[in-house]
């Protein structure tokens, strides 16, 4: 895979983790977060850029050179911010690939309809737990 220009919005646990992985895979990465302290989550090997600011302000996205981005991942703690940033990136700045984390399954549904790629940790964790429950039950059943 050739090197991509990736913007990661939100430098919390997920954002920092993704930024570190993408940077290690030799992609060009820009991380945006409202708080400078959040950048402490980036590894020492992280070779990308940091932009301090609110990604809901178009000026901040421009600072991250969004018009050049191949991919944007919106991973802040707030669903609405992630959805707005993803929509703005795609519709206003023509970023070819956008992805958003969305916690609330009800909202994920709406944004799937809009054609945004979303990842819903609540649904994923729910499925994983259910699988474990089935496993435990079938083992329990086998023992009887």
């Amino acid at each position: 895979m050739s090197s991509l220009y990736v913007i990661v919005v939100g430098c919390g646990r997920l954002g920092a983790h993704l930024a570190n992985l993408l940077s290690r895979a030799e992609h060009r990465v820009v991380v945006i977060d409202r708080s400078e302290a959040a950048f402490a989550g980036l590894s020492e090997a992280f070779s990308g850029f940091r932009v301090e600011g609110d990604a809901a302000e178009p000026g901040v996205l421009k600072q991250a050179k969004i018009e050049r981005a191949d991919l944007l991942i919106a991973a802040t703690q707030r669903d609405n911010v992630n959805l707005m940033v993803a929509l703005v990136a795609r519709e206003a700045f023509g970023v070819p690939h956008v992805m958003a984390r969305v916690y609330d399954p009800a909202r994920e549904q709406v944004y799937r309809e809009l054609g945004l790629s979303t990842v819903c940790p609540t649904l994923l964790a729910g499925e994983a737990f259910l699988e474990l429950v089935h496993e435990a039950m079938s083992q329990g059943g086998a023992e009887e």
């Binding site: 809901a56 302000e57 178009p58 609405n80 959805l83 929509l87 519709e91 009800a106 909202r107 709406v110």
Partner: protein, 220 residues
């Protein structure tokens, strides 16, 4: 009209008050419970406490039958999602977001959400008012393509003493209303303009300079 207002604090309270005074039926959605108590005590409106970007809260507020949703929270992302949800889920005919960052005004419009920037609107009002001291109450309409201004005519004005039919305004400008003393009338071709008259002019924004020059004899 059935109006749903979303936001918090004093702005929302005064917005609500204005709409109620105009005889609209108002539902307010506010996250803050203290705010909600105050609103419920002081406004003739239905109050719903909660996050309006949750579909269930919008539904509880009666979004399905609403004519307008106005999203005026302090968060632009919330305002966008609320308007989007109101339009796409509940078929609200008009959803308007009050944007905090002026840059978001155009961006929201690109995303299909009607947006108003308070700071841009106030700034343009002040700018236009400062340019002509005889020009008051400049109101932008039709996405800013149309301007409605009140112009005070004084003895320096080249149109004073003329019949309206003889005033040669630019094509896309119209004198719609005339205020003379305590009287307000719709002027006709035979109406003669007098010093001290205040006229309401409706014009395309691009003809504003030319129109105001014609009426006041002054350029900005």
């Amino acid at each position: 009209m059935k109006v749903i207002l979303v936001g918090s604090g004093r702005t929302l309270y005064f917005l609500g008050q204005t709409f109620v005074a105009q005889g609209h039926s108002i539902t307010i959605i506010d996250r803050d419970s203290d705010d909600c108590l105050k609103l419920a005590r002081n406004l003739k409106a239905t109050i719903v406490q909660g996050d309006a970007s949750e579909p269930s809260i919008l539904e509880e507020a009666g979004a399905r039958g609403a004519d307008i949703v106005l999203a005026a929270t302090e968060s632009d992302p919330d305002n966008l999602i609320i308007c989007h949800m109101a339009q796409s889920r509940f078929g609200v005919p008009r959803a308007v977001a009050l944007v905090n960052d002026p840059d978001n005004q155009n961006i929201f419009r690109k995303l299909g959400v009607d947006a108003i920037s308070t700071s841009l609107t106030v700034a343009s009002l002040i700018e236009q008012r400062a340019a002509f001291d005889q020009v008051m109450n400049v109101i932008p309409a039709s996405e800013g393509r149309v301007m409605i201004s009140e112009v005070a005519l004084d003895e320096r004005s080249p149109v004073v003493g003329l019949r309206l039919a003889d005033v040669q305004l630019p094509e896309d400008a119209l004198i719609a209303v005339l205020n003379r003393g305590s009287e307000t009338l719709i002027p006709r071709g035979h109406t003669v303009l007098e010093s001290g008259d205040r006229v309401l002019v409706v014009m395309l924004t691009r003809s504003r300079e030319a129109t105001l020059f014609k009426l006041t004899g002054q350029s900005s």
